[in-house]
Amino acid sequence: MAIDQSMLEFTDRTGQVVLRFYEWLVPTVSLGYFQSLSQRHDHTESKALEIVRRATGGGAIVHHYDWTYSVSVPGRLLFNYSDQKRSRQDIGASPHLYNALHDSIVEWLQREGVPAQKWASNGAPEKLPSDTCRCAFLCFERRALGDVVVGQHKVLGSAQRRLGGSILQHGSILISRSTFAPSLVGLTELGVATSLENLKEGFTQSIRIGFEQAFAVSLPQVDSVFQALGLEKHELSKSKFHRPEWLNSR
């Protein structure tokens, strides 16, 4: 989480885009920024796991058989390539960024034979009860406009945080059911037939290409996010994300 925050600060300072893909060393719960820590105790399957708090909002994610991306985007790009009035306003979500990546994921999954669509787009499944949409502990049990779903099952969710004119977007794609969140199914259970290796390649390429096409940029490939940010790993150990007061803030 500290790296994601560093990306946002770097982007706001330099105007450069950073795109990152990552997995988790151990199964971990990430709480949404405004979620109460006490809520985790009601989710018995995951309550023994490590836990962190994200800078982005939304519901908790059990990071086990999922892949995560984050991208930090400067205001100049959001201004230049937005067809949405609100994206130019330094407050609230950027639908242009959100849709760029989710549309690209939907197209890729459909090419893989998975009937993915965006929630509440034409032909989307009927809405779930409103409490499911808003209040569920787990992100993947919530539904918001634009989430990527397969039938009733959400497989990709994203959320944003602003800093000045810049935005960090963070998202997770669910690959397989986890014993720590057994109510959720992933792409494997939903019938995706390709190998995990191809799936990962398809995911990362979809996010990258979706972004590059939507913002008319070409992103250089850098092997290390620390190299991209000009950061030493130890510099992050002082970040607020490591402090108990951050996790316990709500």
Binding site: Q89, D90, G92, S94
Partner: protein, 130 residues
Amino acid sequence: MNPETLRYNSSHEWVGIVEENGEQIAIVGITDFALEQLTDLVYMALPQVGTQLSAGDEFGEVESVKAVSPLYCPVDGQVVEVHQELVDNLEQLAQDPFGSGWIIKLRVGGNVSLDNLLDYDAYRKQCAEA
């Protein structure tokens, strides 16, 4: 508050100066335009009374359905009152953003400068250019 007499951050916070008990008090909120952009508000976090803020500091955060956005303080001052009721009733913010939807009050010095802020016409022009 009358929106036409207020001053604005380009990031959509408004401020009005009033006198209360012989002190200069800055009342701060966010604009109707910002609320329109945020759409559905879900959560709000506010500072503690006593917090010292400078113009440009983050004083709170709002979460709409897909984004967390910071709120920026328009003037220097010390927080003397926080509209805590809003946190549990965000609809009030949308219903009356320039009145009962105020967010914080700050004690400011007698020489508080509003020169770096937008007036009503300039702020509306910024919104119209979006």
